[in-house]
Assembly symmetry: C2
Homo-oligomer: 289 residues x 2
């Protein structure tokens, strides 16, 4: 029996999909390995057009009972959650009966930071008897590897900015804040918190346009996982839109923690980076810890 056949005998994988192109990349990777995938796009977060050509079942955030039933009926034992889910308001949760039982636990999670929330959701999934896996466990090729991804390489100045950025994220990580920072000329220009990476990059573009940042072409977006982050749930990710945002912000490049950052649409990302002359690099994760 070949390895490929062994893989194909794994039970189907259930994927709960938030926004962005990452869930589809991972679904394709898993399917290419011969494993069946059940897609559960989240209403209000996933884009309907993305799922038009695929078998799927829409669910609301909080309707985990529906996911659990369908997954069990299909012999699933593993569940992956992937894609962006902007921190929801409680009214956006439409709990089903099963979820209602665990809702107090989820509601409690909402009072803490993001890590706290995500870990709690993981616990809910496991309380239903499923294994809760990280996307990188079912499709390891989605992780950024060490080294540059496109043609451009960081300068000495960029390397100093990267190091400061990773240090900063290491220091701020215990506070369960964002995973990204923009550093230019050894000066922290922007720190991501609730607004997300795209909005932070837009802010830097605006600061630059208004003349409050000098030295065009300088600066690095640095992303890293939080020290305490549940790596099964919400690894930092980059995709073509990250590169476009970095280009609009006038940055020289993007540096991420290798082995713990997920990349969506790598070919399009590299093409965008090369077109913009922006470097993309995976750094040993140790330097941020």
């Amino acid at each position: 029996m070949s390895a490929a056949e062994a893989v194909s005998q794994e039970p189907p994988l259930a994927m709960i999909c938030g926004g962005g192109s990452l869930p589809l990349s991972v679904a394709d990777s898993v399917a290419a390995r011969g494993r069946k995938v059940l897609l559960f796009p989240l209403r209000g977060f996933a884009k309907p057009a993305d799922f038009a050509g695929r078998e799927h079942r829409w669910v609301h955030l909080g309707q985990f009972g529906t996911v659990a039933r369908i997954a069990r009926d299909n012999g699933c034992r593993d569940i992956v959650c992937l894609g962006s889910v902007v921190r929801p308001s409680l009214w956006q949760l439409r709990p089903d009966l099963f979820t209602l039982k665990v809702l107090p636990q989820v509601a409690k999670a909402f009072r803490g930071g993001d890590n706290h929330l995500l870990t709690s959701v993981g616990r809910v999934i496991e309380s239903y008897g499923f294994r809760f896996l990280g996307a990188q466990e079912v499709a390891p090729e989605i992780l950024v590897r060490q080294g540059t991804l496109g043609r451009a390489v960081p300068s000495e100045r960029d390397r100093a900015d990267m190091a400061l950025g990773f240090d900063y994220l290491g220091a701020a990580g215990p506070f369960d804040v964002g995973q990204a920072v923009v550093v230019a000329n050894r000066h922290v220009l922007a720190v991501e918190a609730a607004e997300g990476t795209d909005q932070m990059l837009a802010r830097v573009a605006q600061l630059r346009a208004s003349g409050r940042i000098r030295a065009s072409g300088a600066g690095v977006l640095v992303k890293a996982a939080k020290p305490k982050q549940d790596r099964r749930f919400d690894l930092p990710s980059i995709g073509p839109s990250t590169i476009e945002g970095a280009a609009r912000a006038g940055l020289a490049g993007v540096a991420v923690a290798a082995g713990e950052t997920v990349i969506a649409e790598p070919e399009r990302l590299v093409a965008a980076a090369d077109a913009a002359g922006i470097f993309v690099i995976g750094e040993p994760a140790g330097i941020s810890q």
Copy 2:
């Protein structure tokens, strides 16, 4: 000889004034103590209307030779720099001949963080033979004291948010980043870097309007001096506009480090806070260090 007369015999104080109402508050405090003040509003940062009724001399950022000459001619020995100066582009500096001599030093400062820049400017002033003082040294009443300033008081939840905010600023301080953070329900919503407190508050208001922040009425703006900050130059400050921004962001209150935060227009600030039902509190600075 009375104490007031002794004070009035001090040589005039030179004040280089950036934007905002703080320089004028301080100038009035110093004048009320019987000390003459020479005002040097910075073109592009200070508002002409604010100086209409006062003796003053406009200068460009970098024209320190002019300031030094006039200050010396008037017998000044002490210089205070106060008010907001958005980090300038190099082209905004219009150096005079005297400043040109020290410009390489200033240019070098631009490559580091804000603290680095400010410390270097202080060194330039001292290299001209002046004493470089903090505004709090000439008008100690501008510092926020411990305790609440208006009628509203923080709840237990607000106190937990405040503690987290001060801890975060303590951890991020060594990186020479901003001095402010917004925390709600033990969740860091926004971190200030190059954009300044007002823009950060506007971002929180926007996140709230778009439904990305739940729990209206919750959240605290926390400000503290950076651990390494040169306290003569750029203490964190609050004024009526801070309260207005916090109200628009739906926050419950504003917490600052007592004894190392400067308050502009305290009466208007307290009136605005009471009108908005927002608490304003000075906390022992130790908790952020």
